[in-house]
């Protein structure tokens, strides 16, 4: 077994990989939250439930319609995004002018309803979803065994995250989004249909969670509480990164996955709490978050 200065490299790299994979999901979910928060100024508590919905949608699509993994990767985010569009239009918009506490409670309610529905229909024990044939097996690296599907998770989520970042920071569409985040009233006066932009943005942020759900189905067990478990951590990550920063959400998501992985290797007892510890420290030192702007 390979060791370096008393460290078991095999174990260390294994945990780093797990950390990177968790971090990929954190990044996708917190990115969606950050996009939605930026334009709508609401905290979407349903993001975790929608991630769970994405995983179930992939499972059900395969069971009942014979839609495989690759098709699900495209179809499920579209369907989930459409649900997001309807949710924004008919649930969130009517209370958009009320205190943000209402929309927070509303999305929390949606999360509970979704989770309750799926628990009722499928029970709380997890269902399994097979890894697609093309990504079965793995590669033997000098210090670790790298399963292909896990490598795919990291690559695919990086592509989606960086692509989203590029779209928001470097394109005209993104300029509309950034400007709308700063001053929606002026964007309306310039002739931009801001309500439509808000609806589509919410749909896109939610679709990211749906995409993460499909990606997660083959590695985590598909269960009704998978969303609520991860969401608590994702909220801590959003607080660490700073609300509303797109790049910050991605970097913090991946970074915290790695921190968690390293902790699992060096001091496993703290691995479930280390992110919250980081959150407390960040809040004490830089309350707006690592990438947030001071108010």
């Amino acid at each position: 077994m390979a060791t370096f200065m008393g460290i078991n490299l095999f174990g260390l790299f294994g945990q780093l990989l797990v950390g990177l994979i968790n971090g990929s999901f954190y990044a996708l979910l917190s990115l969606g939250l950050a996009i939605i928060f930026g334009l709508l100024k609401i905290i979407n508590f349903a993001q975790g439930a929608i991630y769970m919905l994405g995983a179930f949608a992939a499972y059900l699509a395969l069971q009942y319609f014979g839609i495989g993994y690759w098709a699900a990767l495209i179809v499920v985010p579209l369907v989930v995004g459409l649900l997001g569009v309807l949710m924004e239009r008919f649930l969130i918009r009517p209370i958009a002018n009320e205190d943000h506490l209402y929309s927070l409670l509303l999305t929390f309610g949606v999360a509970l309803v979704l989770q309750g529905m799926f628990t009722h229909m499928f029970g709380s024990s997890g269902l399994s979803y097979a890894i697609p044939d093309a990504l079965k097996g793995g590669t033997k690296l000098p210090f670790m065994y790298l399963p292909n599907y896990r490598a795919w998770i990291i690559i695919a989520s990086l592509i989606v995250c960086v692509g989203t970042w590029w779209m928001i920071e470097k394109t005209k569409l993104g300029a509309y989004l950034r400007a709308g985040t700063e001053n929606p009233a002026l964007m309306q006066a310039f002739g931009i249909n801001v309500p439509l932009m808000v609806t589509l943005t919410f749909g896109f942020g939610v679709a990211l969670a749906g995409f993460a759900g499909v990606m997660a189905a083959p590695v985590y067990s598909v269960s009704p509480d998978m969303g609520s478990n991860i969401l608590i951590v994702v909220f801590a990550i959003v607080v660490i990164g700073g609300m509303g920063s797109i790049g910050g959400a991605i970097i913090t998501g991946l970074g915290m996955g790695i921190v968690e992985g390293l902790t699992k290797y060096f001091y496993p007892e703290a691995s479930n709490t280390v992110i919250f510890l980081v959150m407390v420290i960040v809040l004490l030192i830089k309350p707006a978050g690592l990438f947030g702007k001071e108010a």
Partner: protein, 237 residues
Amino acid sequence: MSTTRPEKIRINDLHAFYGESHILHGIDMSIGQGELVTLLGRNGAGRSTTLKAIMSMVGRRTGSIVINGTETIDMPAHKIAHLGMGFCPEERGIFSSLNVEENLMLPPAVRSDGVSVEEIYEMFPNLYERRYSQGTRLSGGEQQMLALARILRTGANILLLDEITEGLAPVIVQKLAEVLMQLKGRGLTILLVEQNFRFAAPIADRHYVMEHGHIVEEVHAHELEAKTELLNTYLGV
């Protein structure tokens, strides 16, 4: 004067509200094509609110606002710009998350014959030099130029400008006066909210004086001398 030109803006009995507060109490005004009209008055008289009410940026508005012959009082806010309107808010509204060029290119074209980007950079060379700087890193004067240039590029031919000289050095104020005269020469219609009467007097065709959400006086350019005293009482200088 306005009767001989095609009417670009006609406002009748305009009331505007922010929540429970009733800000405008029945405004009537008419602006003809190519006119430069100012709204004078003290702070809080309702001048900025009048511009915002025209752009439907207030809580609620009633009455009638006809732009280019189209009634807009029930129109969604994002459709109003497409009647050829360009709005420059008092706080300038330069976006800090966008660079200068992104700010310039941001508003969609509302008519086909906007000022070209080349022409804008010719008119405001500073903007060209600093086109990749963050929008809010510009000096106050440059930001004002950018806010103005931004709506000229869209082809808007009715401009609503709110306090564009506020806090700017005299040489920049002079430059803005030149630009406005140039635009007026091109046939653009301009409604200007202005505190700086010395800036407005020589370039405007008419002035409306506002107080407590009403229009209390209309002064044509040729009546300025005769009504100086009256204006001084209203503006409280």
